[in-house]
């Protein structure tokens, strides 16, 4: 007879995250409940969880890059990124955002994902520049169009980050994949995983880039 009870552990994660409870507590509670329902006693569960955490310490070593990033920020890395992005200013809205998408994907792929982001670059730079470009080509913008352009600026940042960062092998998600598969006996090198992020990254650029060009056309149609 199959024991279906451990599935409650999954349900607990889903409900816990959905209720916005602290993820560290949700994960710990789910681990303990899953283990108990799987037939372990409490000491066994805590030991298994502790051993698993210890076996996965490699995930924590991705943070050793922080001193380098921190020192560069101290010397104006974010300001330099901003200057680079400001250089895109003579483009149409869509093309400007395509350049930003490329910037975001490429920098994330080499581990510089912290040089950009919603508070650092989108709000102070990318969104205002995209709006200015839209006004320059199409005259004054109505409220809906302003909303659309701003939303696309934020969306472009997310797409660029998500489909760039996994090409950098020393990122939490790649190490998490590697360590999860090790549990089942598949020992992969991080680069083997990271190269498989490239096809999706290219497709993300093409799909989102096409939508940005369509945004340009839509803006042109609204022109007076």
């Amino acid at each position: 007879m199959t024991n279906y009870w451990p599935l409650l552990g999954i349900a607990l994660v889903v409900v816990g995250f959905a209720l916005r409870m602290n993820p560290m507590l949700v994960v710990s509670a789910s681990a303990i409940v899953t283990g108990l329902l799987g037939g372990m006693d409490l000491v066994q569960v805590i030991s298994t969880f502790g051993k698993a955490f210890n076996d996965n310490r490699i995930i924590a070593i991705v943070w050793i890059v922080l001193p380098v990033i921190g020192l560069l920020e101290r010397h104006g890395l974010q300001q330099r990124a901003a200057a680079l992005i400001r250089g895109f200013k003579n483009a149409t809205t869509g093309r400007l955002l395509i350049l930003y998408l490329l910037y975001r994907q490429l920098t994330a792929a080499i581990g510089l994902h912290s040089t950009a982001g919603h508070p650092q670059t989108v709000r102070p730079l990318v969104a205002p520049m995209a709006l200015a470009a839209a006004e320059k080509q199409h005259g004054e913008l109505d409220e809906d169009t302003t909303e659309t352009v701003k939303a696309y600026a934020a969306a472009t940042d997310n797409v660029g980050l998500f489909f760039g960062e996994d090409i950098f092998f020393a990122i939490g998600s790649i190490v998490l994949i590697q360590q999860t598969l090790v549990t089942y006996g598949y020992n992969l090198a991080p680069l083997e995983l990271a190269v498989w992020a490239i096809p999706s990254a290219v497709c993300a650029f093409l799909i989102h880039g096409l939508r940005l060009l369509l945004l340009d056309r839509r803006l042109a149609r609204r022109a007076p």
């Binding site: 199959t2 024991n3 451990p6 599935l7 999954i10 994660v13 889903v14 602290n22 560290m24 994960v27 710990s28 789910s30 283990g35 372990m40 805590i46 298994t48 969880f49 051993k51 698993a52 955490f53 310490r57 490699i58 924590a60 070593i61 890059v65 922080l66 380098v68 990033i69 921190g70 560069l72 920020e73 101290r74 010397h75 104006g76 890395l77 974010q78 508070p119 989108v122 709000r123 409220e143 909303e147 939303a151 696309y152 969306a155 997310n158 998500f162 489909f163 939490g172 998490l176 994949i177 999860t180 549990t183 089942y184 090198a189 498989w196 992020a197 096809p199 999706s200 497709c203 939508r211």
Partner: protein, 317 residues
């Protein structure tokens, strides 16, 4: 032989420094909480093999308790002002990006040299882990370069990285927690159960349908939980490993890497991922708090299809 333990020692020393500097940082009202949290991380990295499985278990529960009950907070270590940074940026120009490039280049070149020249034959480095070792070397080279070039104060790398790690907070430990949860799922037989159920629903031998359920499942779980990291151990235990890899002989690298990216498509479509989708809507003063998600759906859906196709076409050649 250089093993991962050398890297654990390096990272452990860094977290120990965070703990020490946190303890002394009176400007942060929660400085003892931060010191305890990063101290436990240091203990895990430096001495995890000495304190036993149960000891490690208590350590994890300690981390979860400190984070979950609000004992850690953001700090503001000494750093440069906005004006100083602007001046540095103007003076140094785009060369400022170069030290950061040292890290991936060292890792990539090192890995390739080690694997495709006779160097690897000496067995200096733990197998399959050479990229991490070269990552560590790259970090040290980059730090040395910055010190020779810009001559920052000696404590600056630790204070600046403490500023960054405190901004990330407990989220820095979450991926490792989730990986451990995945182990518990596997040990309790969660994968077997879901695998059986799925096998009963999906026609046996239909690889494409199984890949599609895997990709959609990653996206769906991510939409519900707001986090692809949390979805991955679940879907790997349920479908990825028992069906796609073990059952149909799929390439584990493709199933794993692209499966995670299918989850990222879900992240683009969920208000649960507030940092990415709701916070920017507020930052940009959008009237529609779901405006960013609306702008992303038409990218996310075709991309999800593409990711499913990539798994199907590349993993089963």
């Amino acid at each position: 032989m250089i093993t991962l333990h050398w890297l654990y020692a390096l990272a452990g020393a860094m977290f120990a420094a965070f703990a020490f500097l946190s303890a002394l940082d009176r400007s942060n009202p929660k400085h003892f909480g931060n010191a305890a949290f990063w101290g436990l991380m240091a203990l895990s990295l430096l001495a995890g093999d000495l304190i036993g499985d149960f000891g490690n278990g208590l350590l994890v529960l300690g981390l979860a308790g400190l984070a979950g009950f609000g004992f850690i907070g953001r700090s503001h270590p000494p750093t440069t002002s906005e004006e100083e940074r602007e001046a540095w940026s103007q003076r140094l120009g785009n060369t400022l990006f170069l030290p950061a490039l040292i890290i991936p280049i060292t890792a990539l070149v090192g890995t390739l040299l080690y694997n495709y020249t006779p160097l690897g034959g000496y067995g200096w480095i733990e197998a399959k882990r050479e990229t991490y070792v070269f990552l560590g070397l790259g970090v040290l080279l980059a730090l040395a370069t910055i010190f020779i070039w810009l001559k920052p104060p000696p404590l600056a790398p630790l204070q600046e990285s403490r500023r960054l790690i405190d901004a990330i907070g407990w989220a820095a430990v979450l991926p490792q927690m989730l990986a451990a949860l995945g182990v518990l799922f596997a040990a309790a037989g969660v994968g077997t159960v879901i695998g059986e159920v799925t096998q009963a629903i999906i026609p046996k031998g239909n690889v494409f349908a199984t890949v599609a359920v895997f990709g959609l499942g990653m996206a769906m779980f991510t939409i519900i939980m707001g986090n692809a990291f949390a979805a991955f151990p679940v879907m790997a235990a349920a479908i990825g490993v028992p069906l796609l890899i073990q059952g149909y002989g799929g390439n584990p690298a493709v199933v794993g890497a692209v499966g995670m990216l299918a989850g990222f498509c879900g992240t683009l479509m969920t208000p649960m991922a507030a940092n990415f989708n709701l916070v920017p809507a507020a930052l940009l003063e959008l009237k529609d708090q779901y405006g960013v998600i609306r702008a992303q759906v038409a990218t996310a859906l075709p991309l999800l299809v593409v990711n499913i196709l990539i798994i199907y076409l590349a993993a089963f050649r």
